[in-house]
Symmetry: C2
Subunit: 118 residues, 2 copies
Amino acid sequence: MVQYIAPPLDLSFAALSDATRRGIIDLLGHGDASITSLADAFQMTLTGMKKHVQVLERAGLVVTQKVGRVRTCRLGKRGLKAEAEWIEAHRKLFEARFDALDEIINEIQQGGSDEGAV
Amino acid sequence: MVQYIAPPLDLSFAALSDATRRGIIDLLGHGDASITSLADAFQMTLTGMKKHVQVLERAGLVVTQKVGRVRTCRLGKRGLKAEAEWIEAHRKLFEARFDALDEIINEIQQGGSDEGAV
DNA sequence: ACAACACTGAACTATATGGTTCAGTATATA
DNA sequence: TATATACTGAACCATATAGTTCAGTGTTGT
């Protein structure tokens, strides 16, 4: 069994940081597509589109397969699980932080000038 | 009322694509911090850390405030809502896509020639 | 055989990132 | 007042991105 090194979040978040690439994922969500059709859809040269697809591929978000002269792109099995998990975990941190702040504000408003050192 | 243009997902995903910056968010989730303390934590020059914080600030993920000579960084109120929403919506697309594939595979298998090509 | 098609690779541009050093400015402290 | 602290800005470096053009290669259709 070949060990699959999961592309780190670096690659997937970087891949998602471009609107064209998010659009590609969007489009592939509704059906597989060739490089040419993607290039048409986003008004871009074939070469330019190929680079975007490569970025998505490196991130594991898209897989491609060449049959004859056509390379077909589809969403990767990996999905967005790891990314969703990171975001959710940290969303909780954000909220916890604001709850802590609210407490401090409440304490200050109570009138007690005790150091709100959080 | 000043119109606040929400930083697009481009900026936040790009901000999250670096492990150091994800680490900063992690750290700020447990308490506010100065540039110096962050630079220490990540073994980096002050100037380098300041750039990271600026990237996070532009993305709206972190806010800073300078008091005296110390700039304190904390998590931004904006949170990760928009990012979570994008990820979740597209996670569903990924899964729907695989369900569609499974159906096709089932159909093929009904017909006999079982190419396990997935 | 030959033209059209789909992709690929190299090379080039402009800009951004991730980091540094070095030289400041402003603030706190002894 | 002098010194240390905390940050800031400019300049530099190497690499990556986002895009292009141009010149191929290999495949399909007539």
